[in-house]
Symmetry: C2
Subunit: 352 residues, 2 copies
Amino acid sequence: MPELRKDPLIGRWVIIATERVRRPVDFLTTQDDSSVSEDCPFCEGHEALTPKEISAIRSENDLTARPGWKVRVVPSIMPLLRIEGKLNRRAKGMYDLMDGIGAHEIIVESPHHIANAAELPVEQFHWVLQSVVARMVDLERDSRFRYALWFKNYGSVAGAGRIAHVRSQIIATPVTPKRVKEELVGARRYFEEKERCLLCDLLIQERELGERIVMESAHMVVLCPFASRFPFEIWIFPKRHSCDFASIPSEEQKDLANVLKQVLLRLKSALNDPPYNYLLHTAPFRHHNGKVGHWKTIEADYHWHIELIPRLSRLAGFEWGSGFYINPTPPEESAKYLRELVIEPEITTSYA
Amino acid sequence: MPELRKDPLIGRWVIIATERVRRPVDFLTTQDDSSVSEDCPFCEGHEALTPKEISAIRSENDLTARPGWKVRVVPSIMPLLRIEGKLNRRAKGMYDLMDGIGAHEIIVESPHHIANAAELPVEQFHWVLQSVVARMVDLERDSRFRYALWFKNYGSVAGAGRIAHVRSQIIATPVTPKRVKEELVGARRYFEEKERCLLCDLLIQERELGERIVMESAHMVVLCPFASRFPFEIWIFPKRHSCDFASIPSEEQKDLANVLKQVLLRLKSALNDPPYNYLLHTAPFRHHNGKVGHWKTIEADYHWHIELIPRLSRLAGFEWGSGFYINPTPPEESAKYLRELVIEPEITTSYA
């Protein structure tokens, strides 16, 4: 059983993945980055190679594992957290730990063996967002979970693994991740003083200034944040205040699909198809009323967003151990470059 | 002028290194990992290739840039922070920033062109520690600085750069790094409840249990922490409670020199000379009496230590964006492996 262990000094939780233990010898082999496609478990027609489908978008929505789908959600075959069991939260001397309970699901973003999401038609993005929302709503029903993280790893440097089939992941966790908790605390502190949402204020200022804006759509703002940790770090915000990604209205969802595609195309064009990660930051589940979980206040003070990080540079020891980042590209330059890129007209018309 | 920018949401400071800006084209070139040695600025006899020496350990201690030294401290030729100027802390709309003022120094750990510190005689480690302490004491006199970070990057994956000459770095910063601040807050919270140091309690428990201990010496304990973020993560603690590395007594310094050498030898042997980073976590400077800087309470509740991270696995998006780490090697296994390694007797006798 994997374990969730809490660092007693700063309160960070770590998954000790006891079921896929790596020993010294495992770190000595060189990584095989080659992509397999003939036995890719995520390709249309290979449905039998995955565990039982959780959900899918297809013409008639049934759960038969058969071709004809647009987007498919399946359990990870190497789950970081296990779905069965109780949390069993307990002490071990002065330490805190619990069993590694959670959900780990793969969103297969296309039936075709395509690696880079930037090449998908914008409709696929919309189906992916629909699937993610549906999974989050479903996972929230499980009272053991406090949070669902939706994220994408693209490129082997970014942790995408051996199979180059476009996909993202959802991990539902029994604790709120530290970074999100810090954001909730920061947002609340600001709200207590100003009675306004920090990120709403930030968007007003950024749109007035313009220098860090990458693009705007009807419902979304894309920018390189003022204190960007990484070159070409990109955040995507809804203009309308909302703490909860899962309640995104249909027109915003369509707009976000378009924006995501545009952002990935610009990134690909600007940096020659770089590896990247993106991750959704949204409110913890409503039913969780712990220290950071008072839904009414989170509704007022938190603002969901997507953080995207191209994996261009290596982190050195200074940054690991200090939490103090060094960014060699001012976000104003990153934003200007991405903003002024000329992207072929094809992509701007693709969603009706 | 580089800038220090504060993230408004979670309070993290980022160095925007405006003087070595990297643009998209810079990220496309492949890295040259080859080591130069004939024109290595850190080798004995090449003293004229570095900026003016800050300090050195040599038979007669003068500042003439000439051969005959054991350890040499020089300014970085690509400083992340600049030594000249005022902090000029200010607002920019809703954001906080200040000029990138600080010190960035290189500790050249041997006159010889050796890459791996594990191969140095233990006396060199002692001279390095002496040099670090002296630099920290000196940097504390500068009222602009709140903290000095001593760290080492070994191997190009760990950010060591192009020249493979053994060295470490000190960066003095006008803010306390976020990770250290979090530790100070965690340590204080524990002390307020128990009136004991959290890390002293942790050491008692770990030494009783033994399963995560790598080694013990007269004055030091080396262990793999309970909530290790990484395989073979190693922390080194003094047994005696002390918040301040710079006040380390001479006998502890000698003992630590021996322990550092042993740890690096074990690491090299266990993982086939892996890249790694280590970083000292010690109290902020005494004169800083800000939110986390009350020296009297820090003296009671904080405990300096060194955190070492072998760079064996890549971080994926999940970990970046969530602060939630996945460690595939339980620390008990890492510790057992390192503890039971047989190291040749040579190294245990090298310091008198």
